[in-house]
Assembly symmetry: C2
Homo-oligomer: 405 residues x 2
């Protein structure tokens, strides 16, 4: 019998217990032994739950029990989740987690701690909810060099942007609807300001390049400034506005950012709508692969947590190949103004201005919108080069969005 413990019995913790109970036989066959939830740590009591008798309020009971080989941390928040994870790894217990804040902030040291103590630290559920992305990047793409990762990493903001696009609605109205539907929290800041996506792209960048950036320090723009101008421009240019987390290397340094992008209809990411997530990986052998699915929710996220539990329990004898991350030094981080991409612009002006802007930005065409406004897409330029080119014309864009090609 393999004994495990759950930390946190909220939405994801409850879902994880549900998946483990419902699929007991299948899971035992997979692990070569029965898996039992010996403890559930929560501040609350759950007298009516079939596992109510497993609930404990003191993490020490779990840490001190040598039978417990694995802890699934689904508490959310940095503390005490981080502290309990440390203690569990130091006790030689493997930890799996859905907690992106802990992974994005403390992943480097927790992976090292796990290696030191011969334990595992897995976090498939921390990015993309139930979508398989972390394990495929580490196994299926193991022989590839990752060139870039770009994704719609937050379902709440994607729901809002999809509604704004389809119904010509305003941000504030759609946010209210999302809150009513339970897709956005009462305090939606972490979602709409892009912090949630920043944590996730920082984790993906670390998987791709081995260096963990500070999620609070990467350039992060959310969707609160998105207006009908943006959605109309995107529509005219043949694509959609999406909140994208993107990472790539520039001259050996790592760029990671979160920003609204213009995504042309030719990119499969532009069709990832509503609360779905989609993650595009560019790899040197495989080329482009897209992973798409439910980026959040009780059972999808629990599905990923249980996949990690099964991975740990079924590979007990082999030494775990945990990724080695280093914490980013200042010198590891690329200058964001050196980021080369096409950019979408909206200007106010006449046909002559459009010709001037096209020439300055190396654009093929300009399309006119109502009210003598025109939109165009530049050729690939660094942000610095684009700003300089525009400054020389005297034209000032109403809006600028990087393009995800």
């Amino acid at each position: 019998m393999l004994q495990i413990a759950l930390l946190g019995f909220g939405v994801v913790g409850g879902g994880t217990a549900e998946v483990l109970l419902e699929n007991q036989k299948q899971i035992a066959a997979y692990c070569g032994d029965d898996v039992n939830i010996k403890y559930i740590l929560d501040l609350r009591e759950f007298p009516d739950h079939p596992l109510g008798d497993r609930v404990v309020h003191d993490v020490k009971i779990i840490l001190d029990d040598p039978e417990v080989v694995l802890v699934a941390e689904m508490m959310g928040g940095a503390h005490p989740a981080y502290d309990f994870t440390r203690a569990a790894l130091e006790a030689g217990k493997s930890v799996v987690t859905s907690n992106k804040e802990v992974v994005a902030t403390f992943g480097t040291e927790l992976l090292e701690l796990a290696r030191e103590h011969g334990a595992s630290y897995l976090f498939e559920a921390s990015v993309g909810g139930g979508i398989p992305i972390i394990r495929p990047m580490q196994t299926d793409l193991a022989s590839n060099e990752i060139l870039a990762v770009s994704g719609i990493l937050n379902g709440t903001t994607n729901f809002i942007l999809t509604k704004m696009k389809n119904e010509g609605a305003d941000f504030a109205d759609v946010l209210r609807l999302a809150q009513q539907k339970g897709y956005a929290e009462a305090n939606p800041t972490a979602d709409v300001e892009g912090l949630d996506a920043a944590r996730k792209i920082v984790i993906l960048a670390a998987l791709a390049f081995g260096t963990l950036l500070d999620p609070n320090k990467i350039p992060t723009t959310g969707i609160t400034g998105i207006t009908r101008d943006h959605t109309e421009t995107a529509d005219k240019l043949g694509g959609a506005v999406k909140l994208i987390g993107h990472t790539e290397k520039i001259d050996g340094k790592i760029l990671a950012l979160v920003s609204p992008y213009f995504v042309p209809a030719t990119n499969p990411i532009s069709h990832v709508d509503d609360v779905y997530n989609g993650i595009l990986v560019d790899a040197n052998m495989l080329g482009r692969a897209l992973f798409y699915g439910a980026g959040a929710g009780k059972l999808p996220t629990a599905s990923a947590v249980v996949a990690d539990i099964l991975d740990v329990l079924s590979h007990r004898k082999d030494e775990r190949r945990l990724p080695v991350w280093t914490r980013a030094a200042e010198n590891d981080v690329a200058d964001p103004t050196a980021y080369v991409c096409r950019r979408a612009y909206l200007f106010e002006g006449c046909q002559k201005c459009a010709e001037k802007a096209k020439k300055a930005l190396g654009a093929q065409d300009a399309v006119f919108l109502e009210g003598s406004r025109f939109a165009l897409i530049s050729s690939p330029l660094s942000e610095k080069a684009a700003v300089d080119a525009l400054a020389a014309t005297g034209l000032c864009p109403i809006l600028t969005l990087p393009v995800l090609d």
Copy 2:
């Protein structure tokens, strides 16, 4: 030093050697030991290749060498690939393969043979080229019950259908172009008649449901009958015609088929264009996930072969959890006329006929095309019920396509 052998030094075999050589260090770190290609089996000589001295023409040299722990079979065709695979497994060597014909035809017994001899038999590259799909289904979705799998599994036919859609071109013309571009073979039968996709959906069905159907016996319709009527109808109904392999369970029995489908634009599969593949998995916990990428090609396919090599070599100590498949008995196979789905129809007729057809098929709307033709989408009906409903009206559709919702 871990010694391996390659069987077949064509496109995929050459790509696999390239990936292994280029990423030697990374691969050694992953496996905990250096990996060396000791032998390459091919009928030809490769005097100018850096690995030319490893080429042998007699498989016995490989089978009799106890140092060789793994064989990568990339010969294609049923024989002698199957026979060499058997012999390698019987000698206790693990086998990884890109050979969908062998997996789809002999997978059941080869997996059993591998289990008997404590070896592995992995085949990530047999479906979807480089796209991670087999391993994610077996690991990330391990706690899920798979409900259905649907996919664009053949790049050649998807290229042809995309061109037909975008350019209003005819099948024969686009096929010639595909042959010129190297996307279609001189003898394109296996692709355009759907046999290639049939082999792949049979493998996915076995992964989902544990039963391997005979790929030559599942209902298989290719794209040779697709005309402008189809593409125009799909366009009017808001979607695209795609060649889909689909599998699901009907009353405990397995349905697997290959057919042109109408895929509405709301389904992400409808945006999988050109030579790309896309596979949609419906799972009871995760919900819907899409895996998208390069479904063929030298380096993408090699990337998947090498991922399997790394999987085997890095999990040498743990007992391999190979799937247990059974060969389908007649009683395991669902009656295809019991398949319930929406269906897209094109009819010739007047407004009154359209009303009659809508009523009979439970359609919401009918859209009129040029030449007093109309298209509609039925409500979900079994094929039998749809045929009966139409027979009662006396209407005879110009074309019928199942809908992938």
